[in-house]
């Protein structure tokens, strides 16, 4: 069946740009300065949504991998691959913005005795091995299968890790959201939620964009193979990305 990922991409892109623009305006012109942290707290409107979307992206990738193992349809493997790939990019930006906040707030770029930071780094490093794992397997079928199993196991580790950190006794890292609504006043909470929506839309847009690009490329290759025969295909080297 023919799948198009470009459909609705324009609308999604506009929604992402508008929401992120609104989030920036709210963060700098509407949300009040934090009583304890002052201006530096503005980083949270970007850092926390990035971290949340990253972790959700890993789980999303794991769910796509489940679908691949259930159906054997390689499109699910592609979706899982792109979801994890995008989440990694968001995760690295989240890590950098978090480090900038830590330097300003704690005076250090990184601290090892903070469970939230270390657990986030572990999850990120775990998923950093996803691409080398794919690259190490030449056979496309085996590559997809092994990568899916890895994505599911690592994806299951994300909520477990989150719960473990929440259960830890000593907290240094500020809690933005809790089950009771967190410590944010209304204006800050609204700004945070708009930022979260904006970053989520950005993730969805880039995921769709990447899927559309990969899908177009594989269609061109398939067309070339159909029209000109297998022999005319240029040799494609080993790749971590599903073909």
């Amino acid at each position: 069946m023919h799948t198009t990922y470009g459909k609705g991409l324009r609308g999604l892109s506009i929604a992402a740009i508008v929401t992120i623009g609104a989030a920036l305006a709210l963060a700098f012109f509407y949300a009040p300065l934090d009583a304890n942290q002052g201006f530096i707290q503005k980083i949270f409107y970007i850092h926390v949504p990035l971290a949340i979307v990253t972790l959700c992206g890993f789980i999303f990738g794991a769910l796509m991998a489940v679908q691949y193992l259930r159906t054997g349809d390689r499109r699910w493997d592609m979706r899982s691959y792109v979801a994890i790939h995008m989440a990694l990019i968001f995760g690295i930006v989240g890590l950098i913005t978090g480090s900038i906040w830590a330097k300003a707030s704690w005076g250090h770029w990184w601290v090892w005795n903070e469970p939230t930071l270390v657990s986030y780094l572990i999850v990120l490093l775990l998923f950093c091995t996803y691409q080398p794992l794919r690259f190490s397997i030449e056979d496309p079928e085996r590559q997809s299968r092994y990568a899916s199993v890895f994505a599911i196991v690592a994806g299951a580790f994300v909520p477990l890790n989150f719960i473990a950190v929440r259960l830890a006794q000593q907290y240094v890292h500020p809690r933005v959201l809790t089950l009771t609504g967190g410590n944010l006043p209304g204006s800050m909470l609204l700004t945070f939620l708009v930022s979260l929506l904006g970053i989520s839309l950005l993730y969805a847009t880039l995921w769709k964009y990447e899927m559309a690009a990969k899908n177009a490329r594989s269609q061109v290759r398939r067309l070339r193979r159909t029209l000109l025969g297998e022999d005319t295909m240029r040799p494609v080297g080993r790749s971590a990305a599903p073909s």
């Binding site: 201006f39 530096i40 980083i43 990019i89 690295i92 930006v93 906040w101 490329r217 061109v220």
Partner: protein, 76 residues
Amino acid sequence: MTILLAAAPALPLGKAGKFVAAAYIVFMLVILIYVAIMATRAQRLEGELSELQRDVEAARRGNDAAADREPQESVL
């Protein structure tokens, strides 16, 4: 823009301002780099498409030439 800046509260551009600016710049920069990479890929795909089009046209011309030659050969 002038109205927006006039309405906006004065931002404290001390030490904290630099860190906040750095965080937002990193975010924007990564998105820009990503978009640039995707643009390069789109360009490459465009190249592949035009190469495919050239190959298909060449193959079609070859087929047409073969079809033109066939009746003459049968007459001879």
